[in-house]
Amino acid sequence: MSSFFQVYAENWSDWWPQLVPAMWNTVALTASSYLLAVVLGIILALGKLSKNRVVRALCKGYIEFVRGIPALVILFLLYFGLLPLGIVFDPFTAAVIGLGMNQGGYMAEVFRGGIEALHKGQREAALAVGMTPFEAYRHIIIPQAIRIVLPPLLNMLISLLKDTSICSLIAAPELMLRAKDIAAMAFRPMHIYLLVGVLYFMMAWPLSMITRRVEAHMRRGRRSTA
């Protein structure tokens, strides 16, 4: 057992400087694809609730399809599949777009659920007191929807963080790819992958703690208003 840890002690100065920037890349990848997913999700959710039938069908089709295929397939399509058509992404961009497109589909459902959970009367009342539809969204619907939507959104951030690991398969420069490189050079796969597992856990755990807090907080809030 002690020799197991000794490997870490010996290689720490070599591995750590490589893993830290990779971790930041993972964080950057998570953040940018999350942002894209949120924007896409809002657009799709509004599209799915729109009165225009074509828009609704398009958004619905997109959501169903994206939720039906693995993120990895989207990544491969974007990165390798578009090459013959002369569209070349660098791995990081492909990863952001791919994960963003994938999570956007899920986000859309979360947002739609949040908006639909509000009673229709809310919107009607807002319109009745003379708000424009846009004002109704801005001041009445969205502030309330956010309370419903926030916990699932945070949960999705956690799963997105873990999903970034599959971007290593299209050679996006993140934690898992670096780990593979080091493992290939050092012939210490067990040590590296365990360490990386711990690193992912250290990133995900605080997030899940925060999520639990927010969940409890929101539940309390809803009960008191009910």
Binding site: P70, V73, A183
Partner: protein, 177 residues
């Protein structure tokens, strides 16, 4: 089931298991099992490694699903069952489980869909599934676009019926609530 247990040590161990496996990516776990253990001379074939890895992660997710299912039931249910003379096991068997199963069925279905799609990453440890064959085909034919579009359609054909069934279940649940 165990997470609602009253024995603190048991509960603590399960908590730790759930937190750990929800906190690390499935891909990392697969690599630990497949490449990591191989180094310590424990050789696992890719398919068992894939099943074990995805199963360990899934177990943690489903634990949370079941726990919320049990917690959604009012604890009066259990107390009432005990009050009419049922043993705790009988109460679990006849009162709690049948109701909890109904509540948890839709999330379990959703998880099944998620798992179906997660199997794609198993291609990274060379387990022979759709994605793995697709990558092999691509390297021999260079028809990347067509093959990956086809794969996407295949996955969709697999998961869409599942999604429909889950949707039905959810509707039924809403209707009797």
């Amino acid at each position: 089931v165990i997470q609602t247990s009253r024995v603190r040590a048991v509960r603590f161990l399960v908590d730790v298991y759930v937190e750990i496996f929800r906190g690390i990516p499935a891909l990392t776990l697969l690599f630990i099992l497949y490449f990591g253990l191989a180094y310590s001379r424990i050789r696992i074939e890719s398919v068992p490694a894939a099943i074990l890895g995805l199963g360990l992660v899934g177990g943690a997710i489903l634990t949370e699903v079941f726990r919320s299912g049990f917690e959604a039931l009012h604890h009066g249910q259990r107390e009432a069952a005990l009050a009419v003379g049922m043993t705790p096991i009988m109460a679990m068997r006849y009162i709690i489980l049948p109701q909890a199963v109904r509540i948890t069925l839709p999330p379990i279905g959703n998880y099944a869909i998620g798992l179906l799609k997660d199997t794609a990453i198993v291609s990274a440890i060379a387990a022979p599934e759709i994605m793995f064959y697709a990558r092999n085909l691509v390297t021999s034919t260079f028809e990347t676009t067509i093959i990956y579009v086809l794969v996407a359609i295949l996955y969709f054909c697999l998961s869409f019926p599942l999604a429909r069934i889950v949707g039905r279940l959810e509707e039924r649940r809403r209707s009797w609530q």
